[in-house]
């Protein structure tokens, strides 16, 4: 008799479990995420009207880096692979767009899907080593890609403009918007960023996302469960490259100039550092990482003009010491302890 009633109360729970759990998760863990995203979006739309053009440009660049880091996050944070050559995919997108604009006068908006698709295909190809290599070996191969890119871009001078690079027209704001150029560029970058985040979010919630997590957390178990490792590793590379390529394309729009030295090895390494500092595998990580990549080198320069690299490195060490799961992890921890304090009162 005692088990009877408990069974009755137990029965409906399983059916309701997914929904109830979902709500619970939203309230406790990610509950503040939706409002936070909404507030952030409102602020993001408001900011360019309050800031001087240079600051607007800086924020635009934060968004560009955030999109690139979003891609890198898919690969490193979610699929557990590594890339020390992600700057190369950004370069592919940037140069792809630049050459399309320079040679064929393609409309700006067309360059975006084209550059993204180009990077996707290259990612599929360069994802081949990821199928066979892991860890340090994969890091080395991807690093090699980043290293050989700069001389390659300089070599094919007739197409890439060589060391001098290419100077291009920026997309002009349509008259009906009444926006200045910097504001228009900012909103273009914002639109790309929002789209990219929605796309990545959807991808991670799909079957593909589950497969990537399985590959990251236990390759053997993933394999016996029927997750095709070669396929999903290459797919992770391709998606990741696609976002980096899109970021590169927006980079070209915003700067109006590409040169090989903008995509040197340091860019790839800074991107990876920015992602780890921002928070691997987290939703906010790429945004925080974008802020870090954009502003911290400048701040380092202000602190000590002679050795910005040293300060930059030290700051990375400090962040990793204080917040081993990145700034996003730190924010989550602060939110939880705040909630605990509030609950006590």
């Amino acid at each position: 008799m005692t088990t009877g009633p408990t069974e009755v109360t137990d029965k409906p729970a399983p059916a309701a479990a997914p929904a109830r759990g979902g709500i619970l998760a939203r309230v406790t863990g990610a509950g503040w995420r939706r409002p936070a995203v909404a507030v952030l979006l409102v602020l993001a739309c408001y900011a360019p009207f309050q800031l001087v053009p240079f600051r607007v440009f800086q924020l635009t660049m934060v968004l560009v880096y955030a999109v690139a880091l979003l891609g890198l996050n898919l690969l490193v944070g979610h699929a557990g692979q590594i890339s020390l050559g992600h700057g190369a995919f950004m370069a592919v997108g940037a140069y792809g767009a630049a050459i399309m604009l320079d040679r064929w006068d393609v409309p700006h908006l067309v360059t975006l899907p084209a550059a993204a698709a180009l990077a996707f295909v290259l990612g599929l190809g360069l994802g081949l080593p990821a199928v066979r290599l892991r860890g340090l070996y994969l890091a080395l191969v991807t690093l090699a890609i980043a290293i050989f890119l700069v001389p390659l871009l300089k070599r094919f001078e007739s197409v890439t403009g060589g060391s001098m690079g290419l100077t291009l027209a920026k997309p002009a704001p349509p008259a009906w918007t009444g926006l200045a150029e910097d504001q228009w560029l900012y909103f273009l970058a914002l639109a790309v960023t929002v789209t990219a985040f929605l796309l990545a979010h959807g991808l991670l919630r799909s079957r593909v996302g589950r497969a990537l997590h399985a590959v990251r957390d236990n390759e053997t178990a993933a394999e016996v469960m029927g997750v095709r490792l070669p396929f999903y590793k290459r797919l992770a590379f391709a998606w990741s490259a696609m976002f980096a390529g899109a970021a590169g394309c927006v980079y070209t729009w915003v700067i109006g100039f590409v040169s090989p030295d903008s995509f040197a090895v340091t860019l790839s390494i800074t991107l990876l550092a920015g992602l780890v500092v921002g928070g691997l595998g987290s939703f906010a990580g790429p945004l925080l990482g974008g802020l870090f990549v954009m502003f911290v080198p400048g701040i380092s320069q202000d602190i000590n003009d002679a050795a910005p690299g040293v300060i930059f490195g030290l700051l990375i060490i400090v962040v990793m010491y204080v917040a081993p799961t990145g700034l996003a992890g730190l924010a989550g921890r602060l939110a939880r302890s705040t909630k605990r304090i509030l609950r006590k009162e």
Partner: protein, 255 residues
């Protein structure tokens, strides 16, 4: 010795002759290191079959070979279908679920996400929900832990999760690699009891690799002793258990 040598060639198979899994002259290895040297084995439909043997005999490699994770020579047939040299996902689609050595828990994912990944190659959401229920029936503790990261479970719970996750495939053949590894005896006994229940209720054929021969022989119908990459003895669990001399020479301890 002659009698044993005779058994080395071909496994007479389970009584009744309804072979579900047939392994013929299976060779496998990793690069230069060859591990299996011509394994012959049949497993009857719906039986629990134990693979016994000392460390390094090739037990884990045999399971990995069955699920397509290592290159093999020879033949593996499941219910008439040829599984030789098929990739792991094709083998999984054929209904072979493999609980890997060390449980293969996706630590940062929740218990529920782990379970759902077990149904990765299957379609149809409604069935998956029903299967979650079914697995909670076998392992009630998993239901209480659904939202927890799987890494926070105890060893025994993780092994239950691993078996539950394998059941999400609705397997026709369940491969268990050393389920007792690192678990308390009482937990292991409980696990084997559940495996037996699963075998009886779902008619799932089970191949279990174990170092703990006692436990495995308690639930198995038939057993095979693997040594340095060859099956050196096959027979009913009772017979293997009774064969003390064999136990001493091949397992290194009294059964």
């Amino acid at each position: 010795m002659n009698e044993r040598a005779g058994e080395r060639g071909a496994d007479p198979g389970p009584p009744g002759g309804d072979a579900f899994l047939t392994v013929t002259d299976l060779h496998a290895g990793y690069g230069e290191a060859r591990v299996l040297h011509g394994v012959n084995l049949t497993v009857g439909r719906g039986e629990i079959c134990a693979i016994l043997g000392p460390n390094g005999a090739g037990k884990t490699t045999l399971l990995r070979a069955l699920s397509g994770m290592v290159r093999v020579r020879g033949a593996v047939r499941l219910d008439g279908a040829d599984l030789t040299r098929r990739p792991p996902d094709a083998v999984a689609r054929r209904g072979v679920a493999h609980v890997p050595e060390g449980r293969g828990t996706f630590m940062p994912l929740t218990v529920e996400e782990n379970l759902r990944l077990g149904a990765f190659v299957r379609r149809g959401r409604g069935e998956v929900e029903a299967d979650l229920e079914r697995i909670h029936g076998y392992f009630p503790v998993l239901r209480e832990r659904l939202r927890q990261p799987a890494g926070s479970l105890s060893g025994g719970e993780q092994q239950m999760l691993a078996i539950g996750r394998a059941l999400m495939l609705r397997p026709r053949l369940l491969l268990l690699d050393e389920p007792s590894l690192g678990l308390a005896p009482i937990v292991t006994r409980e696990l084997f009891r559940i495996v037996q229940t699963i075998n009886e209720q779902e008619r799932t054929t089970v191949v279990v690799v174990e170092q703990n021969a006692h436990l495995a022989l308690d639930v198995a119908g038939r057993a095979h002793v693997l040594e340095t990459g060859r099956i050196v003895l096959s027979g009913s669990a009772e017979r293997i258990r009774a064969d003390e001399q064999v136990a001493q020479s091949y397992l290194g301890y009294r059964v």
